[in-house]
Amino acid sequence: MSGVLLLEQLLNGVQFGVMLFLMAAGLTLVFGVMGLINLAHGSLYMVGAFAAAAVSAATGSFLLGLGAALAAAAAAGALIEVAVIRRLYARDHLDQVLATFALILIFSEGTRWLFGSFPLFLDVPGWLAGPVALPLGIDYPKYRLAVIAVGLAVAAGLFWLIAGTRLGVQIRAGEADREMIAALGVDITRLYTLVFALGAALAGLAGALVGAIQSVQVGMGEPVLILAFVVIVIGGIGSIRGAFVGALLVGLTDTLGRVLLPLAMVHVVGPQAAATAGSAVASMAIYILMALVLVFRPAGLFGKV
C-alpha cells in the first residue's frame, strides 16, 4: 500500500473519530454529571438527522437544516429529561436502561409514524460537494474535511465551556459532589436539563452531519450508540478529554483495521480466505482495543477511579 493511500485512510479515520466524539461527548457528560445511562442517545442522533432532512427539503438550505437539527434534538432532549429521565436519577442503572430502551422504541415508531418507513433524502450542499485536491495528490471529499473542521471546533468550544465558564464550573462540581453543589444553592434541576439538552444537541448535530453522506432512516442511531459507548469506556466515563482521545482512537483503529487487516491476512491464510477472515477480524478490532485499555487502565484512559 502506498504512503499516500495510507495518509488518506488516516484522514478517514480522523473524520470518523471526530463524528464519534460528537456522539460520545453528550453521553459522557450525562453519565458523568447525572450518573445516568442513556440508551436513547442514538434516538436523538436520529431526530437531528430527520429534522435536518425535513427542513433542508422544505427550504433548500443545508445550514437551516443543521440549525433545525440542533434545535429539534435539544428540544427533544429537554422534553424527555423533564418528562421521563428526571425520575430516573435516583434509581439504579437497570431501571435507567429499561426506561431509556423504551424511549428508543417510542422514538423509532414515532418517527416512522411521522415520516414513513422509507429513507429520507439529505445531500451535501452544492458548495461542499465533490473532492478537493490536497498536497501529495490526494483527492479528498470537501464535505469530510468540513466535518473534521466542525468537529474540532465543537471540541474546542466544549473544552472552553467546561474549563472557562460558570456553567462549566457547575458541571464539574456536579460531577464531583451532587449533594454539595445543591446545598450551595445551584439550581441542580435546571443544570441537569441544560446538560442533557446540550448533549442531545451535539448528538443531533452529529446525526445531521452524517445524514448527508449516509442514509437518513429509522434505527440509524443504534449502531453509532454502541460505538459511542465503546468510546466513553475507553476514554474514561465522565471525561470530555477522554471522549475526544477515545473517539480518535476508535475511529483510527476501525478505519485502519478495515484496510490493513485483510492485507495482513493475505500472508497468513491466502487471498481467498483473507477477504472474509480479514473483515471479520477488523470488525472486532475496536473491541480488542477496548479490552486492552481496560486491562491496563480499568477506569479508562482519563477516568477517575
Binding site: 485512510q9 429513507p119 471529499p141 442514509s215 478505519t255 477477504a275
Partner: protein, 383 residues
C-alpha cells in the same frame, strides 16, 4: 357498573358479532403473511404486503389475509409461524423478506403440510437439495440478479471489476453469483461489515486499485450510504449492482448520486406488457407512490395463488400444488414459468436510473439473461 352500562356493553358486543361475515369463514382461503413491517427493511415488507393486497382486492378473491410483523428477527418469525399454523389455522403462508428468517420458518412450515409462496427470499439451500413440493418461490433464487450483473459486465466490456458485499451469507452468495458469469479479472474483492455506513476506506481502495468498474451488493441503507459517498469522492468509474440498492423506495433518498447507474432486475416499471402497465397505474392510484420490484413480487404471488384457487381446492393438496406449478397467471414480468425446483425461469434485465420530472426511477436498457433458471435446480430431486 350500572344497569345501563351493561346494556350498552351488550349491545356493542352484539353489534360486533353481527359485523363478522356470516358463513364466509368456511369458504375463505386463509393466508398467513409474515413480513417485515417495522425496523430496518420495513419498506420492503410494506411493498410486498401492499402489492399482495392489491391483487386480492382487484380479483375480489375469497382470501382472508392474516398479516404479522416479524421485525426482521428470526426468533419472532418462528413464533409467528407457530401461531399462524396452530391457532389461526392458515392454509397458505407467504411474506418473508430476508433469507435468514426464511431459513428459520420455511422448512418447518412446509414439513407441517403448509404451502409456502416466497415473495422475496430465495436462499440456495431451498433451491437445491432442500427443495420441497410445498415450497414455491415467485421472486428469484438469491444468486440470479448478481449472475445477471456479471453477464452484463462482460457485455459492457468491463475487464477489471472491483467487487464488494457485506460479510454475511447473502453477501458471499452475491459475489459468488457475480463471478459465476463474469469473465474478466478482479481488481479487488472486499467484504464489509453488515450494517456498515461509512465507506470512505473502501472507496479509497477502489480508487487506488486501478479498476475499470465496480460491482456492489449493499442492500437498504448501506447502499444509500455507499452511493452518496462514492459520488462525492469524485471516483467516476461505472457502477453495477442488483436492483436491491436501486428500488423505488430507495432511489429518492439517494438522489442524483444514482443517476445513470446500471442495475439488474427481473422487473421494471416500464416493462412493456399490459398486465404490468395496469399494475403500475393501479398501484399508484391506490397507494400514492410508484411500485418497487418488491411490490410487483407481492402482486405476482397473490395472482399465482388466485390462479390455483380457480383450478383446485386447497383441501386436495396434490391438485392444488399441481395447479400452482402450472403458474397459469399473467405475471407483471411477462413470461414466467416454474423450473423443476419450483423456482422461476425468467428473463433478467439491465436497468438504468433516470430522472422523470421530480421522481427518480428505472428504465430497461438491455436484457442480461434470457430464460434463466438457477444453478441449484440440478441438485433438487423433484421433477
Amino acid at each position: 357498573m350500572t344497569r345501563t352500562g351493561w346494556r350498552i356493553l351488550g349491545a356493542a358486543a352484539l353489534a360486533l358479532g353481527l359485523m363478522q361475515p356470516v358463513g364466509a369463514a368456511g369458504e375463505n382461503l386463509k393466508v398467513g403473511m409474515i413480513t417485515t413491517l417495522s425496523g430496518g427493511g420495513a419498506g420492503l415488507g410494506i411493498d410486498v404486503r401492499d402489492g399482495f393486497l392489491l391483487a386480492v382486492k382487484q380479483a375480489e378473491a375469497p382470501i382472508e389475509v392474516v398479516i404479522e410483523d416479524d421485525q426482521r428477527k428470526p426468533d419472532i418469525a418462528v413464533q409467528l409461524a407457530d401461531k399462524l399454523i396452530q391457532s389461526d389455522k392458515v392454509d397458505v403462508m407467504t411474506g418473508i423478506i430476508f433469507s435468514n428468517l426464511a431459513m428459520a420458518v420455511i422448512p418447518s412450515a412446509v414439513a407441517q403440510g403448509k404451502i409456502y409462496l416466497s415473495p422475496n427470499a430465495g436462499p440456495s439451500q431451498l433451491a437445491g437439495a432442500g427443495c420441497h413440493p410445498n415450497y414455491f418461490n415467485v421472486a428469484w433464487q438469491n444468486d440470479n440478479l448478481h449472475e445477471a450483473a456479471g453477464a452484463y459486465a462482460n457485455s459492457a466490456g468491463h475487464t477489471n471489476t472491483f467487487i464488494l458485499a457485506p460479510n454475511y451469507p447473502a453477501g458471499q452468495d452475491a459475489l459468488t453469483g457475480f463471478k459465476r458469469f463474469y469473465e474478466g479479472e478482479l481488481a479487488g474483492e472486499l467484504y464489509t461489515a453488515l450494517g456498515q455506513t461509512d465507506y470512505a476506506a473502501e472507496i479509497a481502495q477502489i480508487r487506488a486499485s486501478g479498476a475499470d468498474s465496480v460491482f456492489f451488493f449493499l442492500p437498504g441503507g448501506m447502499g444509500i450510504s455507499f452511493l452518496k459517498q462514492y459520488a462525492d469522492s469524485g471516483v467516476d468509474m461505472p457502477v453495477i449492482g442488483p436492483a436491491f440498492s436501486f428500488d423505488q423506495g430507495i432511489l429518492q433518498a439517494v438522489g442524483d448520486a444514482a443517476l445513470g447507474v446500471r442495475n439488474t432486475s427481473q422487473w421494471s416499471g416500464d416493462l412493456d406488457n399490459p398486465v404490468n402497465a395496469a399494475f403500475v397505474e393501479s398501484f399508484e392510484a391506490e397507494y400514492g407512490r410508484l411500485p418497487s420490484l418488491y411490490a410487483s413480487q407481492g402482486f405476482d404471488t397473490a395472482n399465482l395463488l388466485i390462479s390455483a384457487m380457480g383450478k383446485a381446492d386447497i383441501a386436495d393438496l396434490d391438485a392444488f400444488r399441481a395447479a400452482l406449478k402450472e403458474a397459469d397467471f399473467d405475471s407483471t414480468r411477462g413470461a414466467f414459468r416454474f423450473n423443476t425446483n419450483q423456482h422461476p425461469v425468467q428473463d433478467i434485465y439491465v436497468r438504468e436510473v433516470i430522472r422523470d420530472g421530480d421522481v427518480f426511477t428505472n428504465r430497461i436498457v438491455a436484457t442480461a439473461l434470457r430464460e434463466r433458471g438457477d444453478a441449484y435446480a440440478a441438485e433438487c430431486p423433484m421433477e
